[in-house]
Amino acid sequence: MKNTPEPNAGYAARDRAWHPPALHPPYKTSVLRSPSAPLLSLPTSLGEETGPVFGQAMLGDMDHDLVHNYAEPGESAIGPRIIVHGRVTDEAGRPVPNALLEVWQANAGGRYRHKKEGYLAPLDPNFGGCGRVLTDEQGFYEFRTIQPGAYPWPNGGNDWRPAHIHFSIFGDAFAQRLITQMYFEGDPLIPLCPIVGAIPHKDAVQSLIAELDMTRTVPMDARAWRFDIVLRGKRQTLFENRLEGL
């Protein structure tokens, strides 16, 4: 018997209770930037089920090496050298190949290279803070960087962001478009952060915390952290489920 999903079943709706709500008053900027009317729920159509596709030819050789992609020749960024790797799948566990991941982060001292950044920690002349990589055929990705520092930000009187790397992710469909942040296992600032705290469920927070992965560590060079990403999946119909159960 053929396991044929209903044609154009579309993408499953997001579980909005799993994501942070638009309004989370402890994160003050969200108060005026959150829609007050409910989102209008509709099934996906072609424009949501398709999206731009990126190729290796659009990327530079150094794009996935933040230690060197902004550094002078022979120089490298200052800070703990790390590898970040993981797998991108959809909610059904299917790997998402050719997914573009764009990452950005502060330097080892917690300072961003940005026109609007005013933290007194110094810039690293050899660190830009951006990188990007495509997943391979099995959905795996890897990039090299330095461990970012924690930094203070104006929100409450004394709020500090836990060390984190920002991720922008493209899957196959515009409906899957996602931006998130990866944190580091063991960081005591994670439970104190109002941005992390916008996420209602502790298991959801846990899924943003990368784990130290000694198996991928390069001896005498870099530690490795593993961060897996799950994108929205296609709706599976009862029809499909029933057939798979047979």
Partner: protein
């Protein structure tokens, strides 16, 4: 094995934060030389089919202040209603038009701008034609999960009147928040209001 959806939970969203440009538009914030050009800055790679248009606008918060740190992405069909992606099975899209654009609002004025083409009509799930429209995705500091909306055109009144999405909107007085105003030859304005009076309709699709 019975595989019941969902098996895994989607990775939760977090705000893009104030420094989103470093990762998505590094040249906008003075990081030159890492990427040749910012991704999505150019949607056209040559002579394109159809009408070339510009879309400009601002994004304002619940107090009417313009966001200067917002980044928008758009995704749309080409002039013939085809998407430039392998998932497009109805025909070959215009190879000189990507259909995807990304723009940071001007860091001083908050104005955004896309140079694109007027999209053709694309069928809804049941085959009815949708009015020409563009999918818009908005991220910024203070936005915990990217906001999806749609841009329609005020000179497409007939198509808009039979658009399956616009017709589904219960609060019809809010429909104008989705409609870009023609301001000149090939020029449209689309202002987005995150909250409050004339709040733009955002979709969960």
């Amino acid at each position: 094995m019975t595989r019941r959806y969902p098996m895994l939970k989607e990775t939760p969203s977090q705000t893009a934060g104030p420094y989103v440009h470093i990762g998505m538009n590094p040249n906008v914030t003075g990081i030159h030389g890492v990427y040749e050009a910012d991704l999505g800055a150019a949607m056209k790679t040559g002579a394109v089919h159809g009408e070339e248009i510009t879309i400009t606008g601002t994004v304002t918060d619940g107090m009417g202040s313009i966001l200067k740190d917002v980044v928008l992405e758009i995704w749309q069909a080409d002039a013939d209603g085809l998407f430039n992606t392998p998932g497009e099975t109805r025909g070959a899209a215009d190879p000189e038009f990507s259909g995807w654009g990304r723009a940071a609002a001007d860091l001083q004025t908050g104005e955004y701008r896309f140079d694109t083409v007027k999209p053709g009509r694309v069928p809804w799930r049941d085959g009815r034609l949708q009015a020409p429209h563009i999918s818009v995705w908005i991220v910024a500091r203070g936005i915990n999960i990217g906001l999806h909306t749609r841009l329609y055109f005020d000179d497409e009144g007939e198509a808009n009147a039979e658009d399956p999405v616009l017709m589904r909107i219960e609060h019809q007085h809010r429909v104008p928040t989705l409609i870009a105003q023609k301001t000149g030859d090939g020029a449209y304005r689309f202002d987005i209001r995150l909250q409050g009076e004339n709040e733009t309709i955002f979709f969960d699709m």
